[in-house]
Amino acid sequence: MEVSGAVITTPAPSQTAAARQWFIARHDLGSLIDALRDSGRRVIGPTVREGAIVYDDIASAADMPAGWRDEQSAGHYRLERRSDDHLFGYTVGPTSWKRFTFPPNLPIATAHRGASVAFEQPEPVLQPMAFIGVRACEIAALGICDRVFLGGQFTDEDFRARRSAALIVAVQCTTSSSTCFCTSMGTGPEVRGGYDILLTEIGEGFVVQAGSPEGAAIVGRLPTRRPTHAESGAAVDNVEATRTRIGEVMPIAGIDERLKLQLDNPRWGVVAERCVECGNCTMSCPTCFCTSVMERSDMEGRLATTERQWDSCFDVNFAKVAGGDFRARPRDRYRQWLTHKFSTWMDQFGSMGCVGCGRCITWCPAHIDVREELIAIAPPIPPVVRPVAVDPVAASPGEYSLARLASIKPETEDTTTLSLTDVDPAFLKGRPGQFVMIALPAFPAVPISISRFRANGIDLTIRAVGPTSTALTNLHPGAKVGVRGPLGTFWPIEDAYGRHAVVVAGGVGLSPLHGLVDALVANHDRFESISLFYGTRTPEDQLFRDDLSDWTSSKLIDVAVTVDRAGPEWKGRVGVVTTLFDKILWDCSKVTAFVVGPERMMQASVQGLISKGVPADRIVISMERHMECGIGLCGHCQMAGRFVCKDGPVFRLNELGELFNREGI
């Protein structure tokens, strides 16, 4: 959205001193270059040469690329005419500003050998410079170079001299290329700082801002006026439109850690077969800083000069020592580059080495798009939407919501599954691992896990051990019961995405895990593998025998059962559930385990999992305690600082720490 420059002298009212704006007509921009040159600066900016927009010395606005745009893709760059005369209607070209702050060839020492030996360093002697048309990604790149060369114990004084000699005239991007990904790297397209003067190109000229006293002084000498509302608005809109056009092209979150896990990914070899190791990516990169030194001498070796040259980690000699090459294979060198840019740079300098300018993509003659490689090598972890517990219905201990008993199914001699229907919709939005308080008039309420979520109701699997549970299991279909819930914490299924999900159940402990297994199976493609290890005292104590058989035949989950004791008709495993752990053959750092059962079984299982190497924060357990109110107000279920009903019953092992497995808590 651009506006024609109707001359209105009233300033935009929202302007503060910090965001003060001016307008300069396009045909007056030459006055900026004149002012910079008059102040003794070497002015470097965009100009058309050899079919591209390069950064080079410019003498006047006539040297600038009026009415050009560029078309860029992997290994492809062409200049084309625009329909207008915009001066910055293109994106970044082959040159980066490091050419001027960190020259490709730099004499760094001279040495003499005669009667004595002497080494001398040249003093940086520099004409003040002005960089015209520095984009947001390029300002970010200069910032990265600052950290590399000036941020540590040892500094590059030549860089410091050049950097401080350069006045920055930034330009906000009002156009984009298919190779741009500043939006992903968080560097652009809007310029947020690091400039002396900022230009945003609109219809007939530029909205101008100053970022330093020197910038303001220069702007003060230019033929400017206040911009109109429409002009200021167009400047914002043009940059915002660029952001929208680029989009979020690369999922970058956690890429540094993602790459570290992929050092052996076979894709490194695949891309290395395409890569011609010309090093153009590193040479074009605005932050790559690798160099080598070359010695030159006279024929007697008495007078020598040392020149520093841009080098590249793709060079076959780059990691070579007398005894061999540390990165002998092309895949080693490609991996070195990409992991440095997007991962280990973070360790060294606290930021990525990439600003998303896309030069390494455009100038790769082998058409390799670094974004495709990153996504293929270190695929984005699917965004984990952590569910929030639904507000329970009838939270107060005296308040109940009614539900109708739809059917009753005996599971074992003393355990029965009640299917409730006509429940409040809140129950259907509950999560596996949560429980309800269920009551009959005249009986104390009891906490029961939700064993299954159905389309129109929930299942509660109840062992008849007391008066209430016995009364409940003796009900007939059609009976009404009071329920409160869903209550408590739930299984963090998302923590197992991309991992091996291991469910360990003992006896009736399978009840709170049943809904979890349903959810794992329904999302099976999100897990490396799913296993259920289920132990009971006898074969007759197994719950959900039909479901166990369905799960087994689905092949989506590996079901293994064992019993403590059995008659001769039992053909399966005999032994406690931990004896099934010999089936765990995976890298246990990639296991997330869910464990429920009698306390002693849980202790043994947790110990077994820990000794196999499953991290404590990846072992999730559900605790049993005396629960009455279910909302953390009655005090019965406390475990030290935790209310099991409210803070649990599902805990990660590391949340409990010393509380787990400790007597008398």
Binding site: P94, G279, G301, N317, P365
Partner: protein, 265 residues
Amino acid sequence: MATTSRVARPRVAVAKFASCDGCQLTFLDLEDQLLEIVSRFDIVEFPEATSRRSPGPYDIVFIEGSISAPDHVDQIKELRKQARILVTIGACATAGGIQAVRNWSDHEAFRAAIYEHPEWVESLATATPVSEHVKVDAELRGCPIDGDQLLELLTAVLVGRRPQIRDEAVCRECKRKGVVCLVVASGEACMGPVTTSGCNALCPTYGRGCFGCFGPRANANAKSWSADLLRSGRPPDEVWRLFAGFTGYAEPFRSVVTELGKTRG
């Protein structure tokens, strides 16, 4: 280099086999340094420059040209015996040169087509680099070689160090010079990514794609680059010519030329 111990005023010979003499001329083109060179090196054998002849042994022998005729084979072996350091110079001596294109052709048919009396012409069916016949201590690449690299090699011999000659893609020189990539920005065919540097990106600087005259650089991914040139729509014949042109007999260009030759007919 086999040995880099310093010699007071090394005896130097410059010899040639099948070649155009352009590399030898690079010695003479070092006009500013020529007096110093002859004061520090005793150039005793250099038919291109002087009719004075001197037998070996020599401290350094520079060899131009490929081994293309029956008598070359014995001559190069004799020169090797006379040389403490043997340096091959130029695309012909290091890679077989342009004339190595005949290595993929019917030598007899060519001779019959060109010469009225082919039986008077003594030539081998192949033109091969010197290194296929004798041990070579150092190479200077290019068609012709680069004067600065020659000077660096001479200096290194005198000072007693390894010559600082990089083996990197021509692309690096383009990038340091600020030459805009012809492949990306103009769609030119260019051998820069697979060719070793040393020319200071001479052809690309003047808007021409690299002809590959310095030959394949270490680990050149010629397979990928030839596939890329074909994918970008160039006819196999053009890609064949690019790789075969100056240094096609040097691996890995040779494999590409052989492979493309099969489809070329």
